[in-house]
């Protein structure tokens, strides 16, 4: 659906985006992650046709995309991070949506507006002025605006930034619901824990360079240095940790009350070996839990130590 090759954006001597190749297939929730100033916004602005790339090319829906392609731009819905301050505040939600429907040339948009407002539970405030809306309501209204023309792809820039927990859940559910209907979702965010919950694939950008692009599971697996197995016991006898640590496949051991955390190499399943060892010691494991690396941990790993790690994971360094 979206493909970029060698996408580069320079502002004078500063390179904001450096030779980025993206590939976003249809029907995915694609997370575009990076800290502030990593080059996320510069990349998105080029994808949206707001700015032109210094070098490289963008393909959208299988066609070469330039800023003049208004026909392609019509197939995109965009939810910016914030509603422009002080704009259209005198309008009601309904008037605001009608205005944007007008720009998109939608005929009789009343029914569509009503349906979408119902879907996001804003139908009751359709005649309320935007100036009276909370941050969460504005964000939902913004999503409705972006969906008015039934776009093929929805871009969301920091969609949950500044929202309360209820707002976050509502927006998250809405994103997932839209994706289930077949819409491709592109989310840019620095809130990694939230992205982990909804994204199918992620790309990590840092200092303008694309460090990784893969499906969430594969990326996390590849980036994990060790696998951590947490074993619950009735009690942890003295010296057990030291004895486990001597096993040749164990990298490290730590103990917290009745739980032993054993770090083993990520290749291979060592649960059977650990069980056998514990039973020999007349200890019965109550529970085995395999702790996977979080996206946040992966992100720290990838940005701090990316070159060596990514040599074989399909990302670009």
């Amino acid at each position: 659906m979206i493909q970029t090759e060698g996408l580069t954006k320079k502002y004078g001597d500063f390179t904001a985006v450096d030779n980025v190749d993206l590939s976003i297939p249809a029907g995915e929730i694609y997370g575009f992650l990076g800290p502030n100033g990593a080059g996320k916004t510069s990349t998105i602005m080029m994808l949206l046709g707001i700015t032109s790339p210094t070098a490289g090319r963008i393909e959208l829906f299988g066609e070469e995309y330039t800023s003049g392609r208004l026909d392609l731009r019509r197939r995109i819905g965009v939810v910016p991070e914030k509603h422009p301050v002080g704009m259209w505040s005198w309008m009601t939600a309904g008037e605001y949506l009608s205005f944007f429907a007008d720009i998109f040339g939608l005929k009789n948009p009343g029914k569509r507006i009503e349906d979408l407002l119902t879907q996001v539970k804003l139908i009751g405030v359709a005649n309320k002025r935007i100036s009276e809306f909370s941050r969460g309501m504005l964000q939902k209204l913004s999503i409705v605006r972006a969906l008015l023309h039934d776009p093929d792809i929805l871009f969301l820039d920091e969609p949950i930034s500044g929202l309360d927990p209820i707002g976050i859940k509502q927006v998250r559910d809405l994103i997932i619901a839209e994706n289930r209907e077949g819409r491709t979702i592109f989310i840019s965010s620095h809130l990694l824990s939230e992205m982990e919950k909804i994204c199918h694939r992620v790309a990590i950008i840092f200092n303008g360079k694309l460090l990784a692009e893969d499906s969430m599971d594969v990326l996390l697996l590849k980036l994990a240095r060790d696998r951590e197995i947490d074993i619950d016991l009735e009690e942890v006898p003295d010296g057990l940790a030291e004895e486990i640590e001597k096993l040749d496949f164990v990298n490290s051991v730590s103990v917290t009350e009745t739980t032993i955390a054993v770090k083993v190499p990520k290749e291979g399943d060592y649960r059977k070996d650990i069980s056998r060892f514990l039973i020999k010691k007349e200890l019965i494991p109550l529970q085995f839990k395999e702790k996977s690396i979080s996206l946040e941990e992966a992100f720290v790993t990838i940005t701090q130590d990316n070159v060596k790690l990514l040599a074989g994971v399909g990302g670009k360094a």
């Binding site: 700015t51 208004l70 019509r74 995109i76 910016p80 205005f99």
Partner: protein, 289 residues
């Protein structure tokens, strides 16, 4: 579907509605009409048995002397040859033109800063659609202004037993084209600057420069200004709307319809050139601050 045309229609409709519901428009129109009224009233009070006598009204005396100094006696005689309406029309036009242009430049800068233009161009529109919509709105309100002035002056003329002469109507047409050129300068001022304040400052700077240049061209003839380069003035006058305005006005006085039409066309051409440059600059700079 022509996406840009559709966006221009949608955005201009909204802008026209917004302008109608804001007090600024009514204040500017009231100020314009009041100025017109006072000037017409002053003219009537300056008439004695021998005809127009500027000395009877101190304000008129000051205006006539100032205009004679800047543009020459012939200009003043021509200006008042049909009565006060032509002069009142131009004076009433200035605050309204300033209101329309400055408010548009301000909005452009403000909406660019808060990301509203960016939001508009996420859809099937672009920065050019936005400024064309702004231009359409300004042109519509110039028509509204001319309509209001025509009705007001026509009633005033009837009440005071006067008539609106043909030069007045020709001037209304010139004002339309002159406004288009000034609106275009307002747009380019917005496009090349990053804030509302710098946009307004640039527009006012350009306008004042053109006024000085126009007045300077008379001053040179009169020998008042010696340090203003004739060559520079000759070059710059081609991009000054006031140059074509003055030629169009003069052609009405001489009864030369051809020159009148040519100068209207040149005003239109000047506006188009400025708008094309604005389009190219906006394309290169984008709508993000």
């Amino acid at each position: 579907m022509n996406y840009r045309l559709n966006a221009v229609k949608a955005i201009s409709r909204r802008k026209i509605f917004e302008t109608f519901i804001t007090p600024g428009f009514y204040i500017a129109l009231s100020v314009s009409l009041l100025l017109g009224y006072f000037l017409i009233n002053g003219f009537i009070n300056s008439i004695d048995s021998s005809g127009l006598n500027y000395g009877l009204n101190p304000v008129y005396e000051l205006i006539a002397k100032s205009l004679s100094g800047a543009f020459g006696d012939t200009f003043v005689i021509k200006l008042f040859s049909e009565g006060p309406f032509l002069f009142a029309l131009y004076i009433a036009y200035i605050p309204f033109l300033l209101y329309l242009t400055i408010s548009s430049v301000f909005k452009f800068g403000f909406e660019k800063k808060v990301g509203a233009i960016e939001l508009l161009v996420y859809g099937p529109s672009d920065g050019t659609s936005y400024f064309l919509a702004s231009l359409v709105k300004d042109i519509v309100f110039t028509f509204v202004f001319l309509g209001a002035v025509l009705v007001f002056f026509w009633i005033t003329a009837i009440v005071n037993n006067m008539v609106l002469g043909p030069e007045f109507f020709y001037s209304c047409i010139v004002i339309l084209f002159l406004s288009l050129a000034f609106f275009s300068y307002g747009i380019i001022s917005s496009v090349v600057t990053d804030s509302a304040v710098s946009g307004i400052a640039l527009f006012l700077g350009i306008s004042i420069f053109f006024i000085i240049l126009q007045m300077g061209s008379f001053a040179i003839i009169s020998g008042y200004v010696t340090n203003l380069s004739n060559v520079l003035a000759w070059i710059v006058k081609w991009v000054s709307p006031l140059f074509y305005w003055h030629l169009a006005l003069s052609s009405i006085g001489y009864g030369n319809g051809g020159v009148f039409v040519v100068n209207l066309f040149l005003l239109l051409l000047l506006s188009i050139v400025i708008l094309v440059i604005s389009h190219l600059v906006l394309k290169a700079r984008g709508v993000r601050v």
